[in-house]
């Protein structure tokens, strides 16, 4: 039986914004197995990023259960969650989020600074990750010296350098041109197929979602049942 990486049961997130009670996510039930590449789709405000943040333990749910890699995240302290995130999660953002004063290799080294690895080992690991994403010749470049696509590849290298069990990507192609977006999605697909990485991709782009092996749709804070799409959902031709 395939190991379950993510399991949520009746996961709910509510908050108060400007005196209004907002239900960002309601009774979401999601199961992702090891080695899957799942896309979470939905329009803006549908709750897909909220679900991703809850899975990454960047936020705490109002109600429901969440098990990620067998860990009940609600029971962990902030410090334990930070360590858990460093060891098990790789995160790719829409806006790359590299540290501008650090070179590509130094950016990739950042998560490794929290491990027991020595400086030389950290640099070797970071260089390997950068070579894997095709940036072996850009180790000493600062983010401003790289194109958008290259920056996102550095971000992916940073996400995989600790060899995480789960990669969470939040609109990773949102700020890229079509060519670069294609390269990034291909890279994520490769990480899934060749390295067996479990990937959860949040996107509102149907084209990007096609790289996933499974797509789940969200609408107004509700995770629709497997195979169900919103009424107004149309798939653009490839």
């Amino acid at each position: 039986m395939t190991e379950t990486v993510i399991q949520t049961r009746d996961l709910t997130k509510e908050f108060i914004r400007d005196e209004f009670h907002v239900v960002a996510l309601k009774d979401a039930n999601l199961e992702v197995r090891k080695g899957e590449f799942v896309a979470l789709m939905g329009p803006s405000g549908s709750g897909k990023s909220t679900l991703l943040h809850l899975i990454a333990a960047m936020d705490r749910p109002t109600d429901g259960e969440i098990l990620v890699l067998g860990e009940n995240l609600r029971s962990l302290s902030d410090r334990a969650i930070a360590r858990w995130r460093n060891e098990h999660i790789g995160f790719v953002f829409q806006s790359f989020n590299l540290i501008p004063v650090l070179t590509a290799i130094e950016n990739v080294e950042l998560p490794l600074k929290l491990t027991a690895l020595k400086k030389k080992e950290r640099m070797e690991h970071a260089a390997t990750a950068l070579k894997l994403v095709g940036l072996g010749d850009r180790l000493g470049h600062l983010p401003r010296q790289l194109s958008g696509g290259q920056e996102q590849r550095v971000a992916i290298a940073r996400a995989i350098v600790t060899d995480p069990d789960l990669i969470l990507a939040d609109e990773p192609t949102g700020n890229l041109d079509a060519q670069s977006a294609q390269e990034i999605l291909t890279l994520l697909g490769r990480l899934n197929k060749e390295f067996g990485k479990t990937i959860l991709l949040v996107t509102h782009d149907p084209h990007a979602a096609r790289f996933a092996s499974r797509i789940r749709h969200l609408e107004k804070g509700e995770l629709l049942p497997e195979g169900q799409v919103p009424a107004d959902y149309t798939v653009a031709p490839m």
Binding site: A56, N97, E106, L110
Partner: protein, 387 residues
């Protein structure tokens, strides 16, 4: 924690213009603070200068401007624990042109045969000592003074009296080395008495200098001398030479208080400068802090990095400030002054360490609130920040 240091350094210098201005601001403040600390140390905390440990000064209890009978000297010398005692009389007067500050130097009337026993730290060849004892109009000058004035042995020195209505005509018979680099001219008290002629003024002197036999005798002697003259018409106040010298500083007012107020103002200025910089720097990087947290950095690590960054900037400013302060103290040492501490004013290792430690603490303290807030910011809140 040391693995965060490279990131700390890069962040400290990421906005070069702002960091440079902050470092320069801190340097200017630290320069002033360093000089103030050095001055405070020189005046109030410095160990006794060579020769001062065993020396006492006896003056009139009311004020040093009130004279004491010269006859006290013989009675003081009889006290157990006194190695030597002599008259120590400020002559004042004018050398050449009083309007030219270069002509200002200390002039004292002393007893030539006792000078080098009361002040053993002074070094002069024996034949010059003998010449000084022999020649009533003889004078001896410190090598620093002789060098500055261009005097040689045999130089004729004419003084015009102001406190005393006499004009000594002196001949330089000796040049002594003073480890305290004082610029002093000594001539015979007996010559002054001779010039003054018969009358009560010649029998009165300003102070006596006493050389004790050992350190234990110093406090005992001070008490014994004052007790001896307690019920006389001219009671004394006897204290160490170091304490006596500080009275001149007190003429300027409550120097301790002034120095402390200036130091507090400077410290507060650094605090504001550093706090402003760190608040700006942290505000610009809230999003990056969110990223670091996403990568697994704990609030403690974030706090450490931001505090360290402020500490690095403050230390850079502090080090530069101390260099400037060293230059300033060197310049002050060369200037004219009547305060002995100014001639040896310098940034000693303890003053340097204290200044740097204070700069570091101020830097860290000033960034505590922005660093704490940043460390406590939730990831989502931080990532939503557009910088």
């Amino acid at each position: 924690m040391f693995r965060y240091v490279p990131l700390m350094l890069k962040n400290a210098l990421r906005n070069r213009r702002r960091s440079t201005l902050t470092i320069l601001s801190i340097a200017a403040s630290l320069c002033l603070l360093g000089v103030m600390f050095a001055l405070y140390r020189g005046l109030f905390l410095a160990p006794p200068k060579p020769g001062q440990e065993l020396r006492l000064v006896a003056r009139h209890k009311v004020s040093m401007t009130q004279p004491l009978p010269v006859s006290y000297e013989a009675r003081i010398r009889q006290l157990p624990g006194v190695r030597e005692a002599m008259v120590w009389q400020w002559f004042g007067g004018v050398y050449k042109d009083a309007r030219d500050r270069r002509n200002f130097f200390a002039r004292f009337c002393i007893e030539p045969d006792k000078l080098f026993r009361v002040r053993p730290e002074l070094e002069m060849p024996d034949e010059q000592k003998r010449a000084f004892e022999r020649l009533r109009t003889g004078a001896v000058a410190s090598s620093d003074l002789a060098e500055r004035m261009g005097w040689k042995i045999g130089e004729r020195i004419f003084l015009t009296g102001d406190i005393y209505p006499v004009n000594p005509e002196l001949t330089l018979v000796g040049i002594f080395k003073d480890p305290n680099t004082n610029e002093t001219l000594f001539f015979s008290y007996f010559y002054l008495r001779e010039l003054l002629g018969a009358g009560p003024r010649g029998d009165m002197v300003g102070t006596f200098q006493i050389q004790a036999e050992n350190a234990e005798a110093v406090p005992r002697l001070a008490k014994a001398i004052d007790t001896m003259f307690e019920n006389s018409t001219a009671p004394t106040k006897t204290e160490t030479e170091q304490a006596f010298a500080l009275q001149f500083v007190s003429f300027l007012g409550n120097i301790k208080l002034y120095l402390m107020i200036i130091c507090a103002a400077v410290t507060f200025t650094i605090l504001l400068v550093s706090a402003n910089t760190m608040a700006m720097s942290v505000r610009e990087r809230v999003r990056e802090i969110g990223i670091l947290k996403t990568l697994g950095y704990t609030p403690g690590a974030i706090l450490f990095m931001i505090l360290g960054e402020a500490g690095v900037i403050a230390l850079m400013g502090g080090a530069l400030g101390l260099l400037l302060a060293s230059g300033m103290t060197a310049a002050l040492r060369q200037g004219p002054t009547f305060v002995g501490a100014m001639r040896t004013l310098s940034i000693t290792p303890d003053v340097g360490a204290l200044s740097l430690a204070l700069a570091f603490l101020i830097g860290v303290g000033s960034s505590l609130i922005p660093a704490w807030n940043a460390a406590r910011t939730s990831i989502l809140e931080a990532l939503r920040d557009s910088g």
